[in-house]
């Protein structure tokens, strides 16, 4: 069954306490909360697979993660109908030998799940010769993009190397992913003390490199929302949804919530990202179901938007 409507639900659950109490509530608070019913058409097409643009391989430095082994992670992603995963490396956070980090990532993707795992190597703007790492990622490892981790890597977005990096990836047709957070700062290991990353310095280099493919990972903006607003208004930056939180968050961000709130992010700039294996894959996929999204919106977020940037192998 691909479509779950109220009649089917009651048919399936009648006789349970839950169903009875639900039926009671349907006539009360729910009446105020629901929009006029607009039933989806019966599903006839195959459910679209998901492109997960925020996955990371190898060992998180501070905990043994449940799906840290690549075969287990790939199986887990496939269990949730992920058809492709853009993979960075946890080694990129603290290692100094960036070339080694990228080589191991490329090898792991190629050997464990070619075509499914798309390697996103890294460069560290604070270390010398990072331009050579860009070249190797592109020309030697044939990676489709790069992922940088400001904060863990000792630079912020005011670094003078950022504009040249964005220009280089544009020239080479690479995707650049910028990671804003890996974990809640309140639970950092005591040795880790990172500054809050200010997104606004990104605006000028993005404006200077029209056509550059830059995606912000695990980013929801500051409390006031001013940096998100500025980035959406003044740059073509894209986002993943792994950091979006709150009931119906995806719908609210793209302006498709029952409350009717205005869009904060254009639909075409939203990519699916789970932040697995640090986050459970289930949370991001379930958020797609939690928000009342229509089929074109789901298709765009699940794979259409990401596919515009990166064709399949």
């Amino acid at each position: 069954m691909n479509l779950f409507d109220r009649r089917q639900f009651i048919k399936n659950s009648l006789g349970t306490g839950a169903a009875l109490s639900l039926a009671h509530a349907t006539g009360t608070a729910l009446a105020a909360a629901t929009t006029p019913p607009a039933k989806p058409a019966p599903l006839t097409e195959k459910p679209p697979g998901i492109i997960d643009t925020n996955v990371t391989l190898f060992q998180w430095p501070f905990r043994k993660l449940k799906y840290s082994e690549t075969p287990a992670l790939v199986a887990k992603l496939r269990q949730h109908h992920i058809i492709e995963a853009w993979a960075g490396s946890f080694e990129a956070l603290l290692h100094k030998d960036i070339a080694g980090v990228n080589e191991r990532l490329a090898t792991e993707c190629r050997e464990q799940a070619p075509g499914f795992l798309r390697p996103f190597g890294t460069v560290n703007l604070a270390w010398a010769d990072w331009e050579e790492d860009v070249r190797r990622c592109h020309e030697v490892h044939h990676m489709p993009g790069l992922r940088i981790y400001p904060g863990y890597q000792p630079f912020n977005l005011k670094h003078p190397g950022l504009a040249p990096l964005i220009a280089m990836v544009r020239e080479r047709g690479l995707i650049l992913q910028i990671v804003f957070q890996m974990e809640d700062p309140r639970v950092h290991h005591p040795l880790i003390k990172l500054e809050t990353l200010d997104a606004r310095p990104l605006i000028a280099p993005l404006q200077a490199a029209p056509g550059a493919k830059v995606q912000l990972l695990h980013f929801s903006g500051n409390v006031q929302g001013s940096d998100l607003q500025a980035l959406m208004a003044e740059t073509p930056a894209h986002l993943d949804l792994s950091r979006w939180e709150g009931n119906g968050a995806i719908g609210r961000m793209i302006g498709s919530a029952p409350s009717g709130s205005a869009a904060r992010v254009p639909l075409e700039r939203v990519f699916f990202g789970s932040h697995a294996p640090y986050f459970p894959v289930e949370t991001a996929v379930l958020k797609l179901m939690e928000s009342p999204l229509d089929r074109p919106q789901l298709n765009a977020i699940m794979q259409g938007n990401a596919r515009r940037w990166l064709p399949p192998v």
């Binding site: 109490s21 949370t283 089929r295």
Partner: protein, 295 residues
């Protein structure tokens, strides 16, 4: 669009369908439907869309009577919320926040909202003006009264990293309890059960703090979802000591349900965490109030 309609079948994505979520009988022990909004009633009604969509059977609000910021000061919405608790008694329950810096006033509030009112328990807020955590002796009369009323006791805890040298818990707000504070309180009242809320935030540490104290439940809402965290809690505490919270609307039900779906659990054990354990904890006060409860 009805909250019951989905354009794609969640089962095709390795997820429970809405029918299956309903069948889990999810009880949300950490509901913030009235918190943080200019009009809490409007927010509650808006959030009901997601309560329905995600198949939540019962929501237990933590902010009934006053507000979390000023628990002992009546809120202009108290009467309207009280009415909602009565009219939605089959889907909505409430805890009333107390202030341990003022034990007499807190007990008076418990008499009003629990003994003579619709609430089933108390909440310790994440910080207070008096700077009094749940460890302080002020709490003893509050806990004695809660025990007499069979009230559930939810204690917000965190272990925020900070201070010099940096250590977990040193950035907590004044009066914001830690799992260590809950453990100290639970040791003084071995016959009373408590919920250690948010798992202390830093769950790897919080779980180990409460592990020896079998009268403490763990609740793990309101922090980021970490793969493996529920497996860890089950391994250390046993599945019977874990209760689920949704923390909506400020957190996604998807986030909090996802934590449980990530865990390697049998269906009966998943149902215990998602609702069964809390029902067992709250059953005495439900029956005392003459309300039907099916475990």
């Amino acid at each position: 669009m009805s909250p019951h309609d989905f354009h794609f079948n969640p089962a095709d994505y390795g997820l429970p369908t809405r029918d299956e979520l309903v069948a889990y009988r999810i009880w949300d022990s950490h509901f913030h439907g009235f918190y943080g909004a200019q009009n809490p009633i409007e927010q509650f009604h808006a959030n009901q869309f997601y309560v329905e969509r995600m198949g939540i059977e019962r929501s237990i609000s933590l902010e009934i009577g006053g507000t979390l910021a000023a628990p002992l000061t009546p809120s202009p919405y108290d009467d309207a919320i009280r009415q909602l608790l009565e009219t939605h008694q089959d889907r909505l329950s409430g805890l009333t926040p107390i202030e341990p810096g003022f034990p007499d006033e807190s007990c008076e509030k418990m008499e009003k909202w629990i003994r003579r009112g619709p609430c089933i328990g108390i909440k310790y807020v994440g910080g207070n003006k008096s700077g009094t955590t749940c460890r302080h002796p002020n709490n003893d009369p509050i806990i004695r009264l809660a025990a007499e009323l069979n009230a559930t006791i939810y204690i917000h805890t965190w272990l925020k990293i900070g201070g010099t040298p940096r250590l977990p818990g040193r950035d907590n707000l004044p009066g914001e309890s830690t799992p260590m504070d809950v453990a100290a309180l639970a040791q003084r009242f071995p016959g009373v059960r408590f919920i250690c809320g948010h798992s202390g935030g830093d769950w790897e540490l919080g779980v180990r703090v409460i592990r020896p104290h079998k009268n403490i439940f763990l609740e793990f809402a309101g922090s980021d979802p970490h793969s493996g965290q529920v497996d860890y809690a089950v391994h250390e505490l046993g599945v019977d000591r874990i209760v689920w919270g949704g923390h909506g609307p400020s957190r996604s039900y998807a986030t909090e349900i996802g934590k449980v779906l990530d865990a390697s659990l049998s269906r009966p054990n998943r149902m215990k965490i998602l609702g069964g354990n809390f029902r067992g904890y709250a059953a005495p006060i439900f029956r005392q109030k003459g309300w039907k409860i099916t475990l």
